[in-house]
């Protein structure tokens, strides 16, 4: 099981700013190891976020997103106490979902 994400969501007016730090190697698949062999691609391909279970964001990521990626987005209509859930899926089929409450 992959390391947990750090999610913080702060409400301001009728919007909430969500900041997510994900733990992932994000290997591009273009790097070569010391022996000259290609290090296989291993990176997040899909990111989704929900607000109280309703989808609010979906993204397709590729190899150009850096290691331990940081994602920030603003959600309209979120208020303190709401639940934000973020899910990522990578090219090896691994997945991780973490939750946070809007502050």
């Amino acid at each position: 099981m992959a390391d947990p994400m750090r999610i913080r969501a702060q409400a301001a007016g009728d919007k909430a700013t969500v900041r997510v730090l994900m733990s992932h190697e994000m290997e591009t698949g273009q790097r070569k190891d010391a022996a000259g062999k290609i290090v296989p691609a291993w990176h997040i391909q899909e990111v989704t976020a929900t607000l109280n279970g309703k989808p609010v964001l979906s993204a397709e990521w590729g190899p150009s997103v850096s290691k331990n990626p940081f994602l920030q987005f603003v959600v309209k209509g979120a208020k303190a106490g709401d639940k934000i859930a973020v899910t990522w899926k990578d090219n090896k089929g691994d997945s991780r979902t973490d939750e946070a409450t809007v502050a």
Binding site: D3, R6, R19, L21, S23, S64, S66, N68, F73
Partner: protein, 275 residues
């Protein structure tokens, strides 16, 4: 929903641009502007410091029962009593009566992992940085440092060994050696100098808040690694073309004592973010 997507895309493309441009300075800018540009880039990176991932891991390890003794580290004494974590980072290295020696944060963590959890301290010391239990030590050190964030350095200098190690550390700081005759002072001994485009803090005196000893552990964006103070010293010595300083060795602890005492009164920003 569309607003979220738009902002997200903007943030993503921004993130992409900076991820792709990591470390590259725009060649067309004048010298001063290049420096400013790099500062701005670093300030932008500061939000969402991946150190937090290691903080979380470290806190988890502190509270998890592990090792042959199946115990947590919650009784570990880092200098202010068993289990006290807040405020200890800015008082290390210091003298410990139970081991009768000077210890920095990392060597003290290994002592606790050995005595409380039954793990093999010598094996941990031999493990390369970033691997196995050594990466756990780094995560623990990152969390413990975060529990002193914003506090001022105040290493004790009461015990004879604390004073002695300061003096030994000073001598190490000025010790020229290796194929290049480098000492720490070669780079960190004069005001206003930089190596390539990296500004160099003067460490023979108090370099100010959040600088030098007050800025490690830190997450290094360029290689995506979490670096503890032991690793920072280790890699300095490597680039000085010195031989290998043992993990948690007295030389590294004495040097840390010198740097830490010099930083007295300066605010710790660890765990920080570096290029």
């Amino acid at each position: 929903m569309s607003l979220a997507k738009l902002t997200m895309q903007k943030t993503l493309s921004l993130a992409l641009t900076f991820a792709l441009c990591a470390g590259a300075a725009a060649p067309a800018l004048a010298q001063k502007t290049t420096s400013q540009g790099i500062d701005e880039y670093r300030a932008m990176l500061a939000d969402g410091n991946p150190s937090e991932l290691f903080e979380a891991k470290g806190e988890d390890l502190w509270k998890k029962a592990r090792g042959p003794k199946n115990a947590t580290l919650e009784k570990c004494d880092l200098g202010q009593g068993p289990g006290v974590v807040k405020g200890v980072f800015v008082t290390l290295p210091r003298y410990f009566a139970d081991t009768q020696r000077m210890q920095d944060l990392e060597s003290r963590l290994v002592t606790c992992m050995e005595t409380l959890q039954g793990l093999n301290g010598a094996e941990i010391a031999k493990t390369p940085f970033g691997k196995g239990e050594q990466s756990n030590v780094t995560a623990l050190a990152t969390w413990i440092a975060s529990e002193s964030k914003g506090l001022k350095f105040n290493l004790p200098q009461a015990h004879t060994q604390e004073k002695t190690f300061y003096e030994v550390g000073k001598r190490l700081f000025y010790q020229r050696g290796g194929t290049h005759d480098f000492a720490c002072a070669s780079c960190h001994g004069e005001e206003g100098k930089r190596i390539r485009l990296q500004d160099l803090p003067v460490l023979s005196q108090n370099p100010g808040d959040g600088v030098g000893f007050a800025a490690w552990p830190a997450y290094r964006v360029s290689n995506g690694q979490m670096w503890s103070m032991q690793l920072r010293l280790n890699d300095c010595y490597r680039q000085q073309r010195f031989p290998y300083p043992g993990f948690g060795s007295n030389a590294t602890i004495a040097l840390s004592t010198y740097l830490g005492v010099n930083a007295k009164g300066s605010v710790s920003v660890a765990p920080a973010l570096k290029r």
